[in-house]
Symmetry: C2
Subunit: 323 residues, 2 copies
């Protein structure tokens, strides 16, 4: 007997909101620490249980993240939120551990050219550096979880297709660093759902003990389709950014990360629990345009929820005869 | 042995562009017949082989479609395009047959309240009327194909969930009219991909001889996710509207139909043939803002194609350290 093709879909998903890191990092207006904290409180009150709050990088490289240490020291702890941060090197790890981080995200690009553009070294050089970071964290703060994020996992804006063997090679290194969770990032929105499904099936077969996450962008409108493909393969961990903030420097004006509220809306419509109050999340998203000074990319903020029904007047629409 | 979960995905898909009907019907600026014909030529030259060109309704109800007869009489015939039109009654069918239509789309809403709002009668009343239309077409023009389009198939903006039995009941009527193809329309963008998959599996089991089509809207950002769910169930026929034109009167400002260029981009990225030149399609979409007087909703027009690679300068990005 065949099992249903949607039998692997998880009943519960952990959504990590990344707006304060990925969403804000390239915004022109510098977001104040107090503004970030107010937003984090709103997210926590809405039930978001995992927040990537910042990155520990050099303030000259990413000015928006210059307040990483003070921000993390002041995040609210009463909601039980798990706070994570991205960081590239030992100095960043020392700062993050000192600031009381719960989870550290170590990122490397699967493709060399993107890693060069992003981190000014080859993927192999980055992996060697991250191994030192991981060893430090295991020694200095063994309670902190290490998560490996593999950028350009579904395509590189310079090289195009990224061979599966490149992914496996990088993931072997993550595994050797002791990581149990690997997040595959579609950094510039190049993935398609067939590819996401096939890649995950191949990786699950190769690394049966890894817990997989997806970090998806909506550059070509495929973000939620790719999330659905991941759900069909049992992925239960997704990054998303409130209001869809966080663009791609190679597609100016294009949409960025999948919007947290759009992802949560889809999940709830499919009966998948997130622990998040969608209305509170939408209300939080509505505060963003004033913060960043431009409109946001959010389908449910624009179009409303599927469950927002309309009163039936019983009379024909002015114009239509459509379908 | 299990077959791969994507084994049913078709190798080739027929994309019906509906911009001249669904896309234009609620636009404020009246599009001239010559402008529509120029757009149809562009679509045909791009390789679009199926075009819903107009609807035969009363000009007072839908002024944009007042030129249905003259438009259809003048569409280019040298490209082998199959031209279809939507129509609600016998008068419309007589006009369409006289104008040389190839395919007639008969629409009814699965939910009574939407059918009342759209057509001022119950679903049962509409089905009785459409049976007369179908009988006329079979007699007067047996070479014309009849396609049944079931609106609000995945949810009604007034009633919410639409029971599967309502769909089956309406489809039984379509079958009794001799139709072999049924298009399920997500009229106001309420579907989610899990629902699309499960609905199609149930309907395929109940009506194994029907060829299924999908007409999807992107109101909550789920249009392409729903299309992917349909592809997984073997659906090989999709409506889409160039530039994503065609809104929903219940969600002002929300995105409308899935954009033809975004659908074709996804299909081509997944190796599914459409016969369409995507670059020519994108070029045609870029002509729309001047025609309708407002921006279009097109991910690939905004963000570019996945295959549009960028030159690698070998130097770090100004800002990033992201994923």
């Amino acid at each position: 007997m065949h099992s249903a093709p949607d039998a692997a879909i998880p009943r519960r998903v952990i959504v990590t909101d990344v707006v304060c890191r990925d969403g804000f990092q390239d915004e022109k207006r510098i977001i104040a620490t107090t503004e970030k904290l107010a937003l984090i409180v709103r997210l926590a009150e809405a039930g978001v249980s995992s927040i990537e709050a910042t990155s520990f990088v050099h303030p000259k490289v990413v000015p928006q993240m210059a307040d990483a240490d003070t921000l993390l020291a002041r995040v609210p702890r009463e909601y039980g939120v798990r706070y994570s941060a991205l960081l590239p090197n030992l100095r960043g790890a020392e700062r993050a551990v000192a600031a009381g981080i719960d989870e550290i995200h170590l990122v490397v690009s699967a493709s060399d050219s993107h890693n060069q553009a992003n981190l000014n070294r080859t993927t192999a050089q980055s992996l060697a550096q991250l191994a030192e970071v991981a060893a430090y964290v295991r020694r200095a703060a063994p309670e902190v979880e290490l998560v490996g994020t593999l950028a350009t996992a579904f395509g590189c804006p310079f090289e195009g297709d990224v061979p599966l063997e490149r992914l496996c090679w990088a993931i072997e290194h993550f595994r050797a660093m002791g990581m149990t969770c690997v997040v595959l990032a579609d950094t510039t929105g190049m993935a398609n759902p067939l590819q996401v499904g096939r890649t995950l099936r191949a990786l699950r077969a190769r690394f049966p003990l890894v817990e997989w996450g997806l970090h998806l962008h909506n550059t070509r409108g495929l973000g939620l389709a790719n999330a659905y493909a991941g759900l069909l393969e049992g992925v239960a961990r997704f990054d998303a950014s409130l209001g869809g903030l966080g663009g791609c420097p190679f597609a100016p004006g294009a949409t960025g990360n999948i919007a947290t509220e759009d992802l949560v809306h889809m999940l709830h419509e499919m009966g998948i629990a997130t622990g998040i109050d969608l209305d509170a999340l939408i209300a939080a998203a509505r505060t963003l345009p004033a913060l960043v000074g431009h409109p946001i990319e959010s389908a449910v903020v624009r179009g409303g929820k599927t469950r927002d029904l309309h009163p039936f007047a019983g009379v024909p629409l002015a114009q239509s005869a459509g379908c």
